[in-house]
Symmetry: none
Subunit: 221 residues, 2 copies
DNA sequence: ATCAAAACAGGTAGAATTACCTAGACATTC
DNA sequence: GAATGTCTAGGTAATTCTACCTGTTTTGAT
């Protein structure tokens, strides 16, 4: 019987050790690499003479978070299948990780048997999506065309308007001129946006606006 | 026990009758509508006082083909779950049907038991994708992001790095510190980006970077 | 009619961006 | 060896952004 080699990257030592115990209880699994953050993981992978088959990857880690790790692994160690561990389970997030070539998505509160089944399925079929994830994927495909209104942030109509224009590369004075208001007012609205959306600067606003389709920007080339 | 009401649309009478016999052999299924092409199907649906739960839809039909039918059904009879029957099994085709809200995709040479299982799964979970279809969906998600990035713009590695950090809301001084270079150098790179990508400001850079997936940004809330 | 929220607008100040320059170090290519 | 391209980094200046204030007017809802 072929033994499935597993790497675990998670900053919580307890979780990591627990998972290792659980997995090593199966004779077909062997946890070969443990890392408390991305940098450590990458180091170990580069040093390893035999790569793991599967990487259980926590998203929230210090030093180098799961997304950065996924990118490096995807580039340097493409053969390793990434199974994402997370408490975060929103559609956009899951889709994002699949785009980063995650082959499965496991909630952190999963049962040990689910984890084992997922690993086996990934090893055999190359990927495994449970019904929740499948539903999200489906919604994602279907909703691609629809521009859904956004209720998650309570922006006022004016704020959305300002946000839209910011995304269209207008500066505050330009927006002011366009809307026949004072530049200071535009400033005020932008500050409210930064505060409401918890962003550092316009870059953050634009990212959020696009990710959540709060604004519509025609594709440019 | 709830009986699952089924409609079959297929131009081949033999296939249609055969399928009907097979399905009606299960006591939980009842084939209520048969149609040899789309027009006929739509007519029957409009006349029906009780809509079917599931529509087995052949794609190749005279008069009105499966894709047009799917569009009409999606619009007028949204509750009906469409299971696509086809010999045609290319990725683009399958994805296209899912976008048209097909909830399952069955090869025409499937085993009767597979058909029955698919129908049950659809009735219970709302959709059912077998491994082939799942693989296609997965490829579709991944291929969207890959490839392109490098082609359309010739950004240097350093420029992409800077662009990434800009999108992550780092200011020039912060980026400089992160990369151990002078803030002025970061300035230079950003200016090159603005010029190369023909943008007015960072907002434009971020929009372009996200639209063309030059960078990967974790979803935020 | 009253209250709260939103939109409006100004002050001040420091940080950052943007737009022009110039130019050396280094690697690759012809 | 020269040409090219990239990364590096500095000068100068105007503009813009960001973060704190303050306040009035308008609007919508109870």
């Amino acid at each position: 019987m072929k033994i499935i080699k597993i790497a675990i990257a998670d900053d919580e030592a307890l979780f990591r050790k627990g998972m290792k115990l659980i997995l090593n209880a199966y004779q077909e699994f062997n946890v070969e690499i443990e890392a408390e953050h991305g940098v450590h993981l990458i180091e170990q992978l580069r040093a390893a003479n035999e790569l793991p088959d599967i990487l259980l990857l926590d998203l929230k880690m210090p030093e180098m978070n799961g997304i950065e790790v996924a990118k490096v692994v995807q580039k340097e160690f493409n053969e390793i299948k990434i199974i994402v561990l997370s408490t975060h389970f929103s559609r956009a997030f899951v889709i994002n990780m699949i785009e980063l070539s995650a082959v499965a998505y496991l909630p952190k509160n999963s049962q040990p048997t689910e984890v084992a089944e997922t690993i086996k399925a990934v090893y055999e079929k190359g990927f495994y999506y449970n019904n929740d994830v499948l539903g999200m994927i489906r919604e994602n495909i279907i909703s691609k065309t629809k521009a859904k209104a956004n209720f998650e942030f309570d922006l006022t109509a004016r704020e959305k308007e300002i946000l839209q224009l910011i995304c269209e590369q207008y500066t505050a004075p330009e927006i002011a001129e366009k809307l026949f208001i004072s530049p200071r007012t535009v400033d005020g609205h932008r500050n409210n946006l930064l505060s409401k959306l918890n962003c550092k600067n316009v870059a953050g606003l634009v990212v959020l606006a696009l990710q959540h389709k709060i604004v519509q920007i025609p594709l440019r080339y």
